[in-house]
Symmetry: C2
Subunit: 295 residues, 2 copies
């Protein structure tokens, strides 16, 4: 990831009626210091983010990502992001991506500098890692207890379980634990035995010809890639469903994928050491679709 | 908090036998940008921290804080911090504190810049807020479900429950929730009904003349201020104990405190709206002790 671009945003009020936010963006040198040590993002993981896939300079599914940013902001009591301002920032970042190939644009909205008056915000763009091997060969996953019951998020919104916050230390630790166990990634399970999501991806299972994903009931993020892929599957006549999935149903799946904005569809070839067949043809068709321009 | 000082640290290897780490410290302007947008602390809350109280330029309980930093680093698979290097950094930060009055020194050890070779680390110092009113008048707390069972930490170390990570968005959200409910702070309860800790403090209860705190069984931090105060109480002939405390025992307490490095002992004057007497004399003696130089 040699190439990078970044833009600091002076967040506009949600009601600002302007059409051009160009003067609220300041391009910065990504290698140079840009943030103060007083940043609450860095002191407390106190902020939210989105990662948007970019293909040949086209930022994918910007609308759903911005909707989720606004949703996360509500859950975290952050000022509502001005979506048009963010859309323009994403457009500028996309223009600075390589004309061909995959990239990733990250949006970060932080609570700001400690005791400061306003949030701070920035957008970065970088070349995506080469995920072609992982999309072909697939990944091995292990299930890990997320510690919460399936009903916890509804009764304890201060746990921020449906928000994409910057407090991702547990997600990173889960991936390290998976690697320690000889796998590539993790699938979180609720403490009462229901399938949730991966640390940085959504899970899709094929069971009896239907495509099923855990219901985003507040405890997990609603994946933008999963949403897009479900729409595509439905268009092709496949049946899709959001369900509360007991962990024992993992054995009923004859194919499964982790899907996310940058890695796209990674077929799962083993769950806790149990081998799972990879449907190479279907996976390839998923990724061809996910690599086409999507809005 | 007008006055501030900060120092970036180039982390030394744990085995480095040097005695002087002066050349590994770079003082920085705290108001100026110092961190890159690639920082994993800011992108993922991926790092650990400590907050050390300072009284008249004396940094309190530096040893226990550094021990806990090392403990957090182990839990988070971060390279072991070189404790002598950090001790020297704290000493420099303390020298830059006001000669009289209270201050706070924060230590941050981040996983570093994304794809970078090493962690990044820095130390800041700032005047402490005036906590005298809160130490006298006390605080109102509400109990909030932490979502985890009391036994979860032992079986799921990837949840990092005993580590003081930078992923504190939930702790911050819990304090906002407490304020929404008309209180000042929160006390976390396990999903199976045991008392844990406050978002940024330890809890001490006085029950039948004994001083009791929830056992730091991996799910909560071992508070340095609680440790210090327990040693002081024991020296004075009081009985202290670490226990697994059911939430119903909160009603048995005839006095309670939240204790932490900077606010020190804040007497609790209400739990979920139920008034609790403040032992003004004992609280004042706690804070007199906590404001004396401690190592």
């Amino acid at each position: 990831m040699a190439w990078r671009f970044a833009l600091v945003i002076d967040p506009a009020a949600a009601g600002d009626a302007r059409t051009d936010f160009g003067d609220t963006f300041t391009p910065i040198d990504v290698a140079a210091p840009a943030l103060s040590v007083g940043e609450m993002s860095t002191q407390r993981g106190d902020g939210i983010f989105e990662s948007i896939g970019v293909v040949d300079r086209h930022a994918q599914e910007v609308g759903p990502h911005l909707d989720r940013l606004a949703h996360s902001a509500r859950l975290c009591d952050l000022p509502a992001p001005h979506l048009e301002q963010w859309r323009q920032a994403v457009a500028i970042a996309a223009e600075h991506c390589p004309p061909e190939g995959e990239a990733v644009i990250k949006l970060i909205l932080s609570r700001g500098v400690e005791h400061g008056p306003t949030p701070t915000a920035w957008v970065t763009a970088a070349e995506a890692p080469d995920n072609s091997a992982v999309r072909d060969r697939g990944i091995r996953v292990v299930t890990l207890d997320r510690g919460y019951g399936i009903d916890t998020p509804a009764r304890a919104p201060w746990l921020l379980l449906g928000a994409k916050t910057l407090s991702y230390a547990v997600n990173m630790a889960a991936i390290r634990e998976a690697k320690r166990r000889g796998a590539d990634d993790a699938v979180f399970i609720s403490s009462d035995g229901f399938v949730l999501e991966a640390p940085t991806a959504s899970l899709i299972l094929r069971i009896d010809g239907r495509f099923v994903t855990p219901a985003p009931n507040g405890g997990i993020l609603h994946g933008t890639t999963q949403l897009s892929l479900f729409a595509h599957l439905e268009e092709g006549g496949s049946e899709t469903a959001y369900e509360t999935i007991p962990v024992t149903d993992l054995e009923k799946a004859d194919a499964a994928w982790l899907v996310s904005s940058v890695r796209l569809a990674a077929p799962i070839r083993a769950v806790d050491g149990r081998e799972l067949a990879v449907d190479a043809e279907l996976t390839a068709s998923f990724n061809r679709y996910l690599l086409t321009p999507r809005d």
